[in-house]
């Protein structure tokens, strides 16, 4: 009986792994076929040598960093306040944070274009920097469901109310409490939210394209439409970047302030 259950467990594991790995292997194999008759890294050389790759990737990384900062500034105090003082509003806030999953990005971006066009009261789109800012705001909205849930789960693992009161009675104000007590204790959760935000921003196409920003998403689409082997190489590069981010967050979390929730 035990032997049998072990066999099925391995079988399920094997099928799952194959389902995940096989397309990656096939993509990798295809990306090496640029040179006729032999395997080579020519597609990768082309991609890395393309100045547009470097420019768009750098742009998207910068936008991702600002998106994460905006997300943290927006979500951490909100989730903290909801948990501390307005727990009855939690379902409402959760519903609002879920909206970006329901409303397509194209609807949001058209709304932005109408609201913040050059002739509007808040003409974000009149300048390139304004459009960049709008893109960051849009991405922060898209990442909201993930960021909010990650931070809220982190807050659930600490006694927010007592820690707040302990800090207050020692003379701390709200900024000190959030910066020195709450944020460090939910840092791992914030990092997971940051990672998800990064992953969304790096591959996002719709908003960047419609706001006409030189981001990595539109670049990927452009290469995909015009080349054969480079898109496969790019897909694997994007995958490696995502996995790299994940590993980086794992490593960073080891250096995060120790807490009672992570004793070892």
């Amino acid at each position: 009986m035990k032997q049998g259950s072990r066999f099925w467990a391995w079988l399920v594991f094997g099928v799952g792994t194959t389902y995940f790995i096989l397309p990656l292997l096939a993509t990798f194999e295809f990306s090496l076929r640029k040179r006729r008759g032999e395997y080579s890294f020519d597609a990768y050389r082309t991609v890395f040598g393309d100045p547009n790759f470097q420019a768009t990737f750098t742009y998207s990384v910068i936008v991702a960093v600002f998106t994460i900062l905006l997300g943290v500034l927006l979500v951490v105090p909100t989730a903290y306040w909801i948990r501390l003082r307005l727990p009855h509003l939690r379902p409402v806030v959760e519903f609002i944070t879920l909206l970006p999953l329901v409303i397509p990005a194209i609807v949001i971006v058209f709304g932005y274009i109408r609201m913040f066009g050059s002739n509007s009261a808040l003409p974000f789109l009149a300048t390139a920097r304004g459009a960049d800012a709008l893109l960051v705001i849009g991405y922060a909205v898209l990442a909201l469901p993930y960021m909010y849930r990650a931070v809220d789960t982190g807050l659930r693992t600490i006694d927010v109310r007592t820690l707040t009161e302990a800090a207050q009675i020692l003379g701390a104000g709200w900024t000190t409490i959030i910066a020195r007590i709450i944020l460090p204790n939910v840092l791992i959760a914030v990092l997971s939210g940051a990672f998800l935000s990064f992953a969304i921003v790096i591959g996002e196409f719709t908003m960047a394209s419609l706001l006409n920003r030189p981001a990595f998403g539109p670049y990927l689409q452009n290469i995909g439409a015009n080349s054969a082997y480079e898109p496969s190489a790019l897909a694997l590069i994007s995958f490696a970047i995502t996995w790299g981010c994940m590993s980086l967050i794992q490593i960073l979390s080891r250096f995060a302030p120790r807490s009672a929730n992570r004793p070892n």
Binding site: L163, E165, A166, Q168, I169, L170, A172, G173, A260
Partner: protein, 354 residues
């Protein structure tokens, strides 16, 4: 009487239609250790939280050192507090936890470090500065929480059931430590507990609370020996309650299960025929007739529990049961269940509950 250091005046707290604290008054002297004792939901923690500033009174005033602090925010009150759940900051080391209040107050680092070292010595954990809270036992964490609370030299120390989460042995040693530190520093302290032994053992005075009101405020001796109300008598210590009927109010005669006892001068205006609740502490009762005990009642032994140095005996008297303790004597065997027994006591020890 000296000016009170903490004065809680006519304080009331309502949550919607529910009033959890009503007309609460208490004056605490400088350096005094006062306990709020009562069952869950009696309002003791709410009063403490109002003194801390976490709850705003619906009415009334709280004055500390002559200053009205009723509407001040918690971080403006200069009050230290120890919580039941320790509430140490998990991301900070022990030294950083203790130094948190000092850093917030802007104390220079060298002075803060000196004060932290002083506090660590005071709580007898000088080597623990670099540890994190999760590396400490519950008792150690609570001592750190105490050190953190008193490090900024607060005017007032509030202790919200700080021993509840600890095991019995640690509770006893820590409560003695808290009391000794409090005496050493002379800091005015308010302690909330539902444990009567804790309150009786370390307090200068106790406020016994019930239904959002202070039923009685007095020294542990007064609270235990002269409870003002039936609730206080029942809540503090073990009590044997007997029903009695006044047979002759003028001479103080009361009938208890067809036997008469004399309670002259204690009937407080009760008339003949009135029914009274009479209470006796177990330690005020002896088995058998004893010299100096002017009253006695007869009954039958219903239970005997051998507890080592002490034997707990229950004697059925009519429909009531009286519990008493006798010391174990190796020379004489313990009484047996079913034996006829006489209990004796001084009528002066009998309490008439109102």
């Amino acid at each position: 009487m000296a000016e009170p250091f903490l004065s809680i005046q006519q304080v009331r707290k309502s949550f919607g239609a529910t009033t959890v604290v009503q007309d609460f008054n208490l004056d605490v002297e400088p350096g005094e250790f006062v306990s709020f004792l009562g069952p869950s939901g009696c309002g003791k923690t709410t009063v403490l939280r109002m003194v801390a500033g976490f709850e705003e009174p619906s009415a009334g005033k709280i004055v500390v050192a002559g200053k009205d602090i009723t509407r001040l925010k918690p971080n403006q009150r200069n009050v230290g507090m120890v919580f039941q759940a320790y509430a140490l900051f998990p991301n900070l080391t022990v030294a950083q936890n203790i130094g948190f209040g000092l850093k917030v107050a802007g104390m220079p680092k060298a002075d803060a470090d000196r004060r932290v070292a002083e506090m660590l010595d005071l709580i007898k954990l000088p080597q623990m500065g670099d540890r994190y809270p999760y590396q400490l036992s519950g008792g150690q964490q609570q001592r750190i929480a105490l050190a953190r609370a008193i490090a900024p030299k607060p005017k007032l120390l509030l202790l919200d059931e700080p021993l509840s989460a600890l095991d019995a042995k640690v509770r006893v040693s820590l409560r003695e430590e808290i009391r000794s530190i409090q005496k050493k520093l002379g800091i005015t302290t308010v302690f909330v507990t539902h444990d009567q032994e804790e309150a009786l053992s370390i307090s200068d005075r106790i406020a016994v609370m019930y239904g959002g009101k202070a039923e009685q405020v007095g020294t542990p001796f007064e609270i235990y020996n002269r409870p003002a109300t039936k609730f206080v008598a029942n809540f503090v210590g073990t009590l044997n309650v007997l029903e009695g009927t006044v047979t002759d109010a003028a001479s103080g005669k009361v009938r208890v299960n067809s036997q008469e006892v004399s309670l002259q001068g204690k009937l407080n205006g009760s008339k003949s025929g009135d029914t009274l609740s009479l209470a006796l502490r177990p330690e005020a009762i002896s088995l058998g007739r004893q010299p100096g005990r002017d009253s006695s009642l007869s009954g039958e032994i219903t239970e005997v529990h051998f507890l080592g140095s002490v034997i707990r005996v229950r004697v059925g008297i009519g429909g009531s049961t009286v519990s008493l303790d006798t010391f174990n004597s190796p020379a004489s065997p313990p009484p047996a269940v079913g034996e006829k027994a006489e209990i004796s006591f001084s009528s002066g020890d009998m309490l008439v509950l109102h």
